[in-house]
Structures are given as structure tokens and as C-alpha cells.
């Protein structure tokens, strides 16, 4: 099974010249064409239109896909609970379970909040206790310095980390992967020669998640990298989907 941990849809208005993916139907069509069975999906509207709007679409659309038999789970943006715009930390796991949401992310740049323990400490505590994956990506407005700070404050977080703006990024990612055992590396931006093999050798395939960053990037690129990487078939299966299946445990939410 091939599962992508980094999928997005929703009409983008970000000025970037990539070919977008406006609708959920376009997303599933591309997954069918590429041979990807499903994955974790964000709705871009959470960053560009409104969090409740985008989170609502992600819940509705991934639920429909899951009900139709596709392994598809949504990803929600979370905000400081003080404003009451997203579920409170106490309610978050059950709300996620109810809405087919398997992971959350923060984007302090788009959502303009101070990413500090004062604002999100309680949320991070719940995520940590319930082993709910938190996506920390430099592509989603979380600079690398902040990723280091969050993990220093909450070292048991189940974190999916991606680094878009620097590659090959071993000097930034490897210290994190060595230090935090609950940290998983999203391979969407690991495009250097030998990168996947090097990470597999150092950290074990169990720590790596296949991702494409579709639609900003071609699904084919990382499919080809993992398909032909010099790793064992067992390792390849873990990277392609086994790890994500293990990571997303509905029982942690309910």
C-alpha cells in the first residue's frame, strides 16, 4: 500500500507558479493515475481562507473518501485554544476521531500567533500524551528554529518533520532525528542523491514516511526515488505506507 503523508488540495492564491489542485476530485484523480492509495490530506483553505472553513472541507471530503474505501485521513490546522476557533485541547482527540482527522499541523506564519508554550502548551501536552501526530514543516510557516524549540519543550511529541527550504538537509534534520525517538521524517523534500538510503541506514526505515508535497511538486518524483532506492523490500514497504499505518492509530483518539 502506498500512502502519502503530505497531500494538499484547494484553490491556491499564493502567487506561486506551480500547477495547483483545486478540488478533492482532482486530488483523487491524480492519486489514481499515480498509483497512490491514499494518505494524509490538508485543505489549503485552512491557510488561505479560514481555519474553520478549510478544516471543515478536510473533514467532509476525507470522510467521504474513507467511506468509499480509500485510506484517506484529514489533517487539521490547530490554533491557540484561547480564541475558541478550533476544538479545545481536551476535546481535540474526540473531535478528530469523529471527523476522520488523523494528524494536526500548525502554521504560525499564516495564522499569525505566537508559537509559544503559553499559546499551545496545553495542546502539545495532549498531542504528546495521546501520540497524535503533529506535522512541523518549514513549508507550512514553521521555521527550523521553532521546530527545534517545540521539540525541546515537548520531546515526546509524535512529530512529522519536513524541511522544504534547504537541501540536502542532513545538517538540519539529522540532529533532530538522532535526538527525538518519536520524530518521523517526511521524505517529500528529500530529493538529493542517496538521501533516502542514507536516512534509512542511520535511523531505520521505521522513521521515514513517503510524501510528495503534491500539488506543489510532482507525485512521480518521490515515487521514483522510493521505488528504486537501494533499500530492502521490507524497508520500502514501511516507507511507502507501513509506517503511516502504524503511526495513525484511531484508538489513540477515542
Amino acid at each position: 500500500m502506498i500512502l502519502d503523508c503530505n497531500l494538499t488540495y484547494g484553490a491556491a492564491n499564493d502567487g506561486k507558479p506551480y500547477r495547483g489542485c483545486d478540488t478533492f476530485a482532482e486530488l483523487t484523480a491524480e492519486l489514481d493515475r499515480a498509483g497512490i492509495d491514499g494518505g494524509l490530506v490538508r485543505c489549503r483553505y485552512s491557510d488561505t481562507v479560514g481555519v474553520r472553513y478549510g478544516n471543515g472541507f478536510a473533514a467532509r471530503d476525507t470522510r467521504q473518501a474513507a467511506d468509499a474505501g480509500r485510506w484517506m485521513r484529514g489533517v487539521w490546522a490547530v490554533l491557540p485554544p484561547d480564541t475558541g476557533e478550533t476544538p479545545s485541547p481536551a476535546e481535540l482527540p474526540s473531535e478528530m476521531a469523529r471527523h476522520n482527522i488523523a494528524a494536526v499541523y500548525i502554521n504560525p506564519e499564516a495564522h499569525r500567533f505566537q508559537p509559544d508554550p503559553i499559546t499551545l502548551g496545553e495542546t502539545f501536552e495532549v498531542l504528546q500524551q495521546r501520540r497524535i501526530p503533529l506535522i512541523l514543516s518549514t513549508a507550512n510557516g514553521v521555521p527550523m528554529e521553532l521546530i527545534y524549540r517545540i521539540l525541546r519543550d515537548f520531546p515526546r511529541l509524535t512529530a512529522i518533520v519536513a524541511d522544504q527550504y534547504n537541501w540536502p538537509n542532513g545538517r538540519r534534520l539529522y540532529p533532530l532525528a538522532n535526538h527525538y525517538e518519536n520524530l518521523y521524517l517526511d521524505l517529500s523534500y528529500i530529493m538529493d542523491a542517496g538521501g533516502v538510503e542514507d536516512m534509512t541506514r542511520r535511523f531505520g526505515a521505521e522513521r521515514l514516511l513517503f510524501g510528495t508535497a503534491f500539488p506543489e511538486r510532482y507525485t512521480g518524483s518521490m515515487l521514483a526515488v522510493v521505488r528504486a532506492a537501494g533499500v530492502t523490500e521490507r524497508e520500502r514497504a514501511l516507507i511507502f505506507g507501513g509506517n503511516l499505518l502504524r503511526l495513525v492509530r484511531e484508538e489513540d483518539l477515542t
Binding site: P168, A193, G194, G195, R217, R227
Partner: protein, 270 residues
Amino acid sequence: MIDKNSELASAFWETGRLPCPILDFHAHMDEHPAIYFPFSSADEMVRDMDRNGVARLFFCGHLALDDPLFGEAYNVAAVRKHPDRLRAYHIVHSRHLDPARDIREVEEAPDVYVGFKLLGDYNAFPVDDPCHDPYYDYLSETGKLLLLHTWGGSPYDGPANVAAVARRFPRLRIICGHSFFGCQCEGVLATRQYPNVWYELTAVPIMRGCLEDIVRLAGSERVLFGTDLPWFSTLHGVGMVLGADLSDEERRNIFHRNGERLYREIGLSF
């Protein structure tokens, strides 16, 4: 499967290798101060080429890019160790120009060099500045290649700079490295009227839709495969070409047919 409608993609998915050769027109080699590479030596790169079906690779090592005085020696040593697989571009440092010396070095090592490489952005120096004319005259006379780093919005190697060079030197074979990344449409539109210009794919994989834009505006016959190895995995570029909205004929043009044609034009056997 990458693209369920593609025989080429199916064959790759089945075996992990393309059923056709790959000619890579843009690579590097050796260490770089800003970056950790899992591998970067000539031997390791050739092993990687073997694994991924890359028949030949043209490169300019990082040491030559960053050391205007002594870096070329590493290019020469790498090619002479792997003469059937590697060829080098001799670097042109716009702020350390010595055309007589550089051309002599290329002339004295015909087994090593396929042409020159020029990085306007890195030197903060326009590629169409007349100080480069001796190089362009030499390349025009000999038929060798000019690989330019080209980037969208650049005042040094953007569309207008490259168009000016192509216009003044109609016999100069210009490869636009990165295909004016970020403004590929503007770049191709500014230069496609010059049949001596080709478009190369390094960096293009990180922006979905770029490759389709280039092929739509220039035709797949003008596109050359390149990776920036070891910065990008060969597989990453292969996957882009297989996953892009192209026909298998267009993909084969990019992977090897255009390169083979260019090889014949410059007298390289394949």
C-alpha cells in the same frame, strides 16, 4: 506506477530502471561547504549512474566552481578516471577571466571538455557582457557547448541576457540550465526563436507544471535531461518526467534522443 497510462512508467515501476538510456547534461561533483552530501565523489557518482541507467554525464565539479585557480584539476582527473562515462564543462569565472588560459586548457584536453559553463548569478556578472566574447567565439567555431545557469528574474542570466547571447552568436550551442526556473514561460518565449538554444531540467522538478510549460512552448525536441547530481537524485528527475503530463515519445526525447542528436552534432560517440 507513477502514470498508469504510460508504458515507460510501467516499465520503470516494474524494474526500478528505465528501458532506455539517460544522458545527463548538468551535474556537479565533490563536497560543498553549505551542504552534507551522502555521496559526491566521481567513483560514487559513476556507481549511481550504473544503478540508474545513466549512460553519460556532463559535469562541472564544485571545486572548479568555487576555486578559480586550481579547481579544474579535479574535473580533469575525474573524467580521465571514467573516460567512457564522464565529460566536463570548464568553468568561466567572470571576475577572474583569462580566456587565453581557459581556451588553451580546453584545447589541450579534448578528451575531457565538452565546453564551458558560466554562472552569471553566482558571479553577479551578466552572461551577455562582451568580456565573455572570446569564449563564445571559440565555442561557435569549434561547436562545443555552453552551459549557462539561468534563473527567472535574474539580471545576470535571465531571459534577456540569454536572448542577447543567442542573437549575437547564432552558431553557439547554448544549454539553459534550470530553464529560467521560476519564470520558465518568459524564458522560453524570449529564446525559443533561436534554434541554438536548449532547455535543461535541473530544479524544474520542484515546481509541478514547469516541465509541461517548457514542452508546450519549446517542444520536447529542445529539452535535455539534467539533475545537478549530487544535489538532486537522478530518480527524482526521472520521476518528474514520467509523472508529468507528457507522452512517452516526448519523454524519450528528453531522456536520450535529443541528447544523442546533440552528441552527434558535437562529434561525441554514443
